[in-house]
Each structure stands twice: as structure tokens, then as C-alpha cells.
Amino acid sequence: MNLELLQKICGLAAPSSGEGAVRDCVIDLLKDVADEIKVDPLGSVIARKKGAGPKVMFACHMDQPSFMINFIDKDGFLRFSHMGKLAFEQIRGQRVVFQNDPPGESLRSVMTGVIACEKIRDKQQASMIHLYMDAGFRSREEAEKHIAIGGLCVFAGETVIDGRKIISPGLGRAGAFVLAETAKAMQSSPNDMYFVFNAQREVDFAGAKASVWTVSPDYAVCFDLAPSHDIPSPEIQQLPVRAGNGAAIKIKDSSVICHPGLIHFIEDTAKENGVRVQFEISESFQSGAGPVHTANGGVPAGGVSIPARGIDSAHPIALLSDIEESLRLALHLAQKPFENLV
């Protein structure tokens, strides 16, 4: 597995609506292997590898949980809205990096800040509304030279890969890595393959909702993370996904019940090729398969998920073995005819 590429893709910063860096990277990777490649109005990348069979869409997303500056106070502190499912305790005390073209400067500057909490008497009462960002400015005027209302930022954090695991604020893009590698490695396909790298997952799957219309696929398989349930907690409900047990074939999450035809097709493909798989049933987790399967009069949809812990935190973690199995599965799927599944 190309760990260097995994590190690169996950390590880029891509707040929702500001996915440019990942988009450029994906286009660069696929421009020589795709028959067609285009960017849709929301900024999603749609790469096609032509085939004679049904239209099959493999979808993933490019963005990550992120923040938007919505107010700068007179002392130069920044208030923000968040995009993605982020809880107070996951945000407080984290570092962020801004991704902005500062007014009057042409170069992208890297600016870091911290998320701090107002001093309030009753600490138990602290919540999202008490959080602000401190990037060291002393006045609104000074701040405005570097950041504008609407400016975007993401969690700061090095993408770490060792022999076993990856930790990265952009771990959600492991699906994009799987798709890019699949598109590159696959030989000819019996299917008309569309690899879709969606923008704005964290804004209620806006990118996926739009691109599914453009592609109008006959079948869709969505690649994303899934919450692993092997975390220490006496209270957590026992659901099937376990990090280290292989690629997770999605049966259900809170946005979709996958098409049985696709679930069996994916499972059979894994069995035939000795790919290690498990099943995913997630309860409070949504995926791109949700908006896709109800679009265009119904699209039979399935999913392949990479189990990860701490999905909604600054430092999610996944095991490399699971990413590798997902990649193997994606590659076998892409080269197998999607026939008579419904």
C-alpha cells in the first residue's frame, strides 16, 4: 500500500467548501488514467473510466470537520460556526489551522490558532457558545488583515503513520485514497466506472446530493469511515464494527439500509478473493449512501467502510490493515461486472 500517498491525501487541509488542495491532488493523480474528468459546480471531482456495462459510481468525500469564522470581536478574538458532527469536549483546547487567502496577499499563509473557552463561573455550564479562537491578534483591525468573516479552518495535527495505524485530522479521506488508488490500479472494467470525490460531506452531504444527479448511476458504492465499537466503555451498545477485523460491508447506518443485492454482491466478491471483511450496522452515523440511495427515483446503494475510532474528534485513528483490505475489496469490485443485482 502506498503509505506516502495515504499520508499526503489525509494530511492536506480541506474544510467543507474549501477542498481545493485535495481536488488538485486528485485531478493530478487521475488525469492520465481517467477517460473523462470534470469538476462539478460544488467542486466535486467526477472521474470516469469507460466500460460497456452498467454505470457504477464509487463515491467518497474530500472535506473534513471544519470551522468558519462568523465574528471578530474588538479585541481580535474569533467566533466560529462548525461544520460536521463535533461536540464541545472534542473542540475545546484544540489547535486549528486557517486556510485563507489573506486580503492583499497572494500567497496562502499558514496561520494557527487555539480554541479556548470563556471564563465562566459555573464550569459545568460551559458549552459551544462559550468557545472562541485565539490566533494572537490584539484588535479587530489586526485580525482583519489576516482573516475575514467566512474564513475557514480545520483541526491542526500532524498525520502520523506507523507500521500499524494512521492518526490524522483528515482521516475521513482514507476513502478518497482508496478510490484514487483503485482508479489508478484497475485494468479495464466491465462497468462504466465513475469515481466521485465529493465536496461538502460535513454540510449534510451537499456534494453527494448534487453529483448523484450528474452521474445518474445504476449502482453506487460509498466509501467512508465507520465508527468502531471496540472503545472502552461500560455503556456503549455492542454493534458489530471492530477496528482490525477488515473492511466493513455496510448493512445499515442512520441514513441508509443498503440494498440486499449489493450487500451480497460485495460479500461474495470479498469471499472469492480472500478479502477480510466484517459487517457494519451503525446507529448514530450517516454516510453518503443516505442521500444517494433515495435520489433519481432510487439508486441501489452499498457501502464499504473503514472502521475508525474517534471519528468526530480532532485525532481519529484507523488501522492500516483495514484500509488495505478496503482497497483490495474496492479493486476487485471495480473489475467485476455489476449485473442483475436488483
Binding site: E235, Q237, P240, I251, I257, P300
Partner: protein, 321 residues
């Protein structure tokens, strides 16, 4: 498939909705009636070491209604099971006061893990096993009458219109996956692309403990809903139709989201003029849901009279009046 008896072309769409069509004369519009055919249920999420099946809910499943139920696990073949409960002798006072959460329940099919695994798999659907019974006064009680009673009303309407020559194309949609997030209706509305759609779904009927919240009553006729989810002109036509044909009806004010198929059909495509008929139903989302068969029949009659009243009228004009 019952719809085929009433001269409809029946097909399933890609999502799994059943759509029955009765073509009208050329140049008419498209009328659609919809009711969902799914029910709340459970899904196997784990088979534990002792062979107990852990499960997740599909739809708004009330955990209090699951204890001591008989269930059917739809595995490789159907398997009976029960959801058991700790004996009261061994339950502390503290535990007695709380309702048991789904995470602490399990389905017992009588098998060990090794015996269960060839038969039952993670992802299998589970339904409550319940025979529908008749109560006095034409009442029917059982599981999943929300919204099979609505589908029955659609069938009644199709039956009434079997020999009827219609100007407009008539579509009956039995939608899938409503309880999982009103999903099938989105695909069905896209596929049919109707001008007008009337949805039939269950509404909360008055019962002890609910009098203050609910306006509709069992046995007093279908309730014609009114509110932002409903195009006012459709409400008016339905109401006038009921009055003219002396069909007993009630009015169901729904000031916000209706949480029915109408919610997404209304905003499908370029927008659909949507009506909603609430069938008064007691004990919603339990396995003893209760409806009045008279109300179901009346709802079917109301829909067929509604269809007749729109015959040879320009649907655009109906909506503008």
C-alpha cells in the same frame, strides 16, 4: 399486486416502492395516492457467545413495547424468537422504576452461537409476531396497521374506480422505508412526478392520556389534514368532496412537519400539491395498533370521490381556485 385486480399496471421501482398505474385519457394530469407499506422493526446487530441476538431498531421503535414479545427473525429461513426479561423476583426496586433499554435486551431463539450462525446473520430483519384481531365496533387491532391500513384505503379506492374512465393518470404508490426516514416516498415521487398527491397515513387518535394533544377520534371518519405541509386547495377539495358525498370526516390540524410521506413528496421535483388524510389510530408504534375499519373504508371512498370530482377538470385550475 392486489392492485392488478382493479385494472392497474403494477410494477416495483428501483427503490422497492410498489407503484400501480391506471392510465387516463390523453392530455390529463397525474394524480397520485400514497401510503407506506413498511413497519417499524428490528435488525440483528450481533450474535453473542451464548447465541442471544442483540439488535438495533429500524424506525421509531419504543423500547417499552418490546419486552416479552414473540418475534420472527427473517434469516436464511424464518425463525421464532422471544425477547425475555429478568424475573421480577430478581429485579431491584431501582430497576423496576426504569424501562429497560434496547442495548440491554436480546432475542432468544433457543440456539447456541454455533447453531445460530448458519441460520441467522448480522443484518437480518426482525418483526414482532402478532395476529391481527377484530374488536367490537368494526375495530381492528394488530401490528403495522400504521400504515397497512392506509394501503388498504388505497386498495378500496382502486376497487371503487375499477370501471371508471378517468381523464387523469392515476397512480397508487405503496412506499417503502417510511419508518427509516421517509425514504421510499422521495424515490416514488421522482418516478411518478405527479401534479397532485394525497398521502394516507396514521394519525394519533384520542386515547386515555392523549386527550389534550389530539384532535381526532377513532370511528369518526378519516381526518383531512390542514397545515403548511398541505396545499390548501387540496384540503378544500377533499373537504368539499366529503361534504357533498356525505362521507363522515374530521379535520386534523398539523401546524408543523407532518412526518409522513407528504413531507418529502411536497418538495419533490418542482414541488407537488400535496394533501394528507390521517387515519385515526390508537397506540401508534406498538404491536396493538388499533383502527376502525369504517374509517379505512370511508378514506377509500373519499379518495375515489376526490378522483371523480377532479375528472375533466384542469388540475392547474383546481390548484389556483
Amino acid at each position: 399486486m392486489e392492485f392488478a385486480k382493479y385494472r392497474c399496471d403494477v410494477s416495483a421501482d428501483r427503490f422497492g416502492n410498489v407503484i400501480a398505474c391506471k392510465k387516463g385519457k390523453q392530455g390529463g394530469g397525474k394524480l397520485m395516492f400514497a401510503a407506506h407499506m413498511d413497519e417499524i422493526g428490528l435488525m440483528v446487530s450481533q450474535i453473542d457467545e451464548q447465541g442471544f441476538l442483540k439488535f438495533s431498531p429500524i424506525g421509531g421503535c419504543d423500547q417499552r413495547t418490546l419486552l416479552s414479545q414473540e418475534v420472527i427473525v427473517h434469516g436464511r429461513r424464518d425463525v421464532f424468537g422471544v425477547i425475555g426479561l429478568k424475573p421480577p423476583h430478581l429485579t431491584s426496586d431501582e430497576e423496576q422504576k426504569k424501562s429497560v433499554s434496547i442495548a440491554d435486551m436480546a432475542i432468544d431463539i433457543g440456539f447456541s452461537q454455533e447453531e445460530a450462525e448458519p441460520l441467522v446473520r448480522v443484518g437480518d430483519i426482525v418483526t414482532v409476531r402478532r395476529k391481527t384481531i377484530e374488536l367490537r365496533n368494526d375495530l381492528l387491532s394488530g401490528k403495522s396497521l400504521d400504515d397497512k391500513a392506509g394501503v388498504a384505503a388505497l386498495l378500496e379506492c382502486a376497487k371503487n374506480l375499477v370501471d371508471y374512465e378517468n381523464t387523469h393518470d392515476l397512480y397508487f404508490a405503496a412506499t417503502a422505508q417510511k419508518e427509516a426516514g421517509i425514504r421510499g416516498a422521495r424515490a416514488a415521487a421522482f418516478n411518478v412526478n405527479p401534479d397532485i398527491c394525497v398521502v394516507v397515513d396514521a394519525g394519533f387518535a384520542k386515547m386515555p392520556g392523549l386527550d389534550a394533544f389530539s384532535a381526532i377520534e377513532l370511528g369518526k371518519g378519516p381526518a383531512i389534514a390542514v397545515g403548511p405541509n398541505i396545499r390548501y386547495a387540496i384540503f378544500e377539495v377533499l373537504k368539499e368532496t366529503a361534504e357533498k358525498n356525505e362521507i363522515m370526516f374530521q379535520i386534523d390540524p398539523i401546524p408543523g412537519m407532518s412526518y409522513t410521506d407528504a413531507m418529502f413528496i411536497q418538495i419533490a421535483g418542482r414541488g407537488v400539491a400535496t394533501g394528507l388524510i390521517s387515519l385515526p389510530l390508537k397506540y401508534m408504534h406498538t404491536s396493538v395498533e388499533t383502527v376502525s375499519m369504517k374509517d379505512v373504508t370511508r378514506a377509500g371512498t373519499l379518495l375515489s370521490c376526490f378522483t371523480r370530482s377532479l375528472n375533466s377538470r384542469d388540475l392547474e385550475m383546481v390548484l389556483c381556485s
